[in-house]
């Protein structure tokens, strides 16, 4: 890299511009070469490989025995698999509720904190804190908080106001609710983004609206929301991708997607097909599931961007 840089500086100044441009192009590709390699080997390659594997009867990885081409058989098996549909449905419900729920919670709290209340920094810290402990430890903690008898903190609190105890992990619906509750605990990261976006809205716009007689609610709908709509789209897309891949919560909190398969989210299903001991030999099937997940996220992201066109407001006049 150093040699490259010196070559650039050594070239005589009076040469044609194009040689500078060519040197710059070379330097560009040199700097981004790790990404190009990573993209081919860790992203594009695997996705294409998954497409190929999904058309074969790949069982175990054995370079001496190439898997046989079986056409769309794995996909046919997928469509006939009740568990595939069960996990797809659970994931759809989980995503449809958790993404809007987190966005609304984050947006409302950010708006609240943007009202010049004292202690803004402290509140921001507290709301963001759960995000840094997202993992096995916090999932174990929640399975403890949600214990079914009144020795669980949440059930005890509910029973004090006459609403409980609830058998969180005993019923399909409550198990799903417990995952959603766990997830909404992490709205802080989206909230911090919203808060920063709200603080960037020019105050002149609020003043103008106030002079026109707009009350707080109108100002929120007609000034804040349009101005931060690109950020809402950003959070929605990130939330979507994360929720499609949710893995630790159903594994630990609802104990491998229970009760039955009520919270058997897609990521968990895919993991089991690909890696669990009892399911060895389903390589082609797991690859088909990977490819389906890829297609779902691709289609949904495109839909998000399409739908948002005309709703999302970009200050510069175009997507920026």
């Amino acid at each position: 890299m150093v040699a490259q840089a010196q070559a650039v500086t050594a070239s005589p100044r009076k040469r044609k511009r194009s040689s500078f441009a060519r040197a710059e192009t070379r330097a560009f590709y040199l700097f981004i070469s790790p990404w190009i390699f990573g993209f081919i080997v860790f992203s594009a390659g695997p996705i294409l490989a998954a497409a190929w594997f999904s058309l074969t009867n790949l069982t175990d990885i054995d370079i001496n025995h190439l898997p046989k081409f079986v056409g769309l058989e794995q996909y046919k098996a997928l469509l006939d698999d009740r568990l595939f549909w069960v996990s797809l449905k659970a994931t759809a419900i989980y995503t449809l509720v958790s993404v809007p729920l987190n966005i609304v919670a984050a947006l409302l709290m950010a708006t609240l904190l943007n009202q010049k209340i004292p202690g803004l920094r402290l509140f921001r810290t507290i709301y963001y804190m759960p995000t840094v402990v997202a993992g096995v430890a916090s999932a174990l903690l929640w399975s403890q908080l949600l214990r079914s008898d009144t020795s669980g903190l949440i059930n005890w609190l509910l029973s004090q106001v006459g609403l409980g105890p609830i058998d969180w992990f005993g019923s399909s619906n409550w198990a799903m609710v417990s995952l959603l509750m766990y997830n909404v605990w992490y709205f802080g990261s989206a909230m911090v983004i919203f808060l920063a976006a709200l603080q960037g809205v020019p105050t002149a716009l609020y003043e103008a609206a106030e002079i026109d007689g707009a009350n707080a609610v109108r100002r929120f709908w007609n000034v804040s929301l349009p101005m931060i709509s690109p950020v809402i789209l950003f959070n929605a897309v990130i939330g979507l991708i994360n929720s499609l891949q949710s893995f630790i919560p159903p594994l630990i909190i609802t104990n491998k997607g229970g009760p039955g398969f009520a919270t058997y989210l897609y990521g968990l299903n895919l993991f089991d097909r690909a890696f669990s001991d009892t399911q060895q030999g389903h390589g082609g099937y797991a690859a088909a599931m990977s490819w389906v997940l890829f297609l779902i996220s691709l289609v949904l992201t495109v839909v998000f961007f399409r739908v948002s066109r005309g709703i999302v407001y970009y200050e510069s006049g175009g997507p920026g």
């Binding site: 996705i47 810290t125 797991a286």
Partner: protein, 313 residues
Amino acid sequence: MSSQSQGARSVALPRAGVSLHSQRRTRLIARSFYFILACLGAVVMIIPLYWLIVTAFKDSGSVFAVPPILIPNPWLFSNIPDALNSSALPDTFVVFGVTLPAFFTYLWNTVVVTALTVLGDTLSGAVIAFGFARLRARGSNILFGLVLATIMLPYQAVLYPQFILFKTLGWTDSWLPLIVPTYFGSAFNIFLLRQFFMGIPRELDEAAKIDGCGYFRIFRSIILPLSKPALAAVAVFSFVFHWNDLLGPLVYINTSGKYVVSLALQSFTGGYGLAEWNLLMAAALVSSLPCLILFFVAQRYFIQGIVVSGVKG
């Protein structure tokens, strides 16, 4: 930014028929109401973490008490060493002939893996982002579009084919599959650093170029020193992500001596026994402590990082 907006909005505009005094009072009431709501929300957010801490110091009997015991009596600080040295943990950690609690094996493994992945994420992110932020070349826009597109590529969609790749390389049951990919840039880090680099005045580059600096010198001597906050942001995000990651270790690591804490917690949950939730919470507390400490020390960078990635995109 915030002080400006606050200053401007605190100027109450008198409306017809409403005295300035009563309007100011309405505002005060509204603000107190908002403050109380924010406090209530904060309490709800903190309760689980509070519960993690108090449960970690209870004796095993009072974990199941009804009503729940809000403050441990007595505080059993010995839970921490007990949890770290539980007989449920199969590995021992010996340094210079001294045997340390078994859990230290996993903590140490996590430290090594996380340190190397943080280095990889930050280093590769900076180099690649410099290319995208500062160097003009044909095709750079299309390539950057591809970078952004991979943000939307679910990790789980490539998990299985990647596993086959690493298995073919003979890298399974090692940390290499967790570490090596971070040295080839992740889309989010590239994006975040590029946004930050773009904000550094180009005149600095031009001046350096006239002084005879090459691109690598510009990167090393101008961009990197000016980007410490953004590099710190990438480093803290990377730390928290890799410290907490379970899926990668679960897929690739089989030998318990190579476990990281997330995997150890997940695997040995059963070993602690149903009645020993206090010990399990003590282990959970220890495992999340590094992230919590990092958060309080480097909070500025967390906030800055999210702001750069989310708002300026």
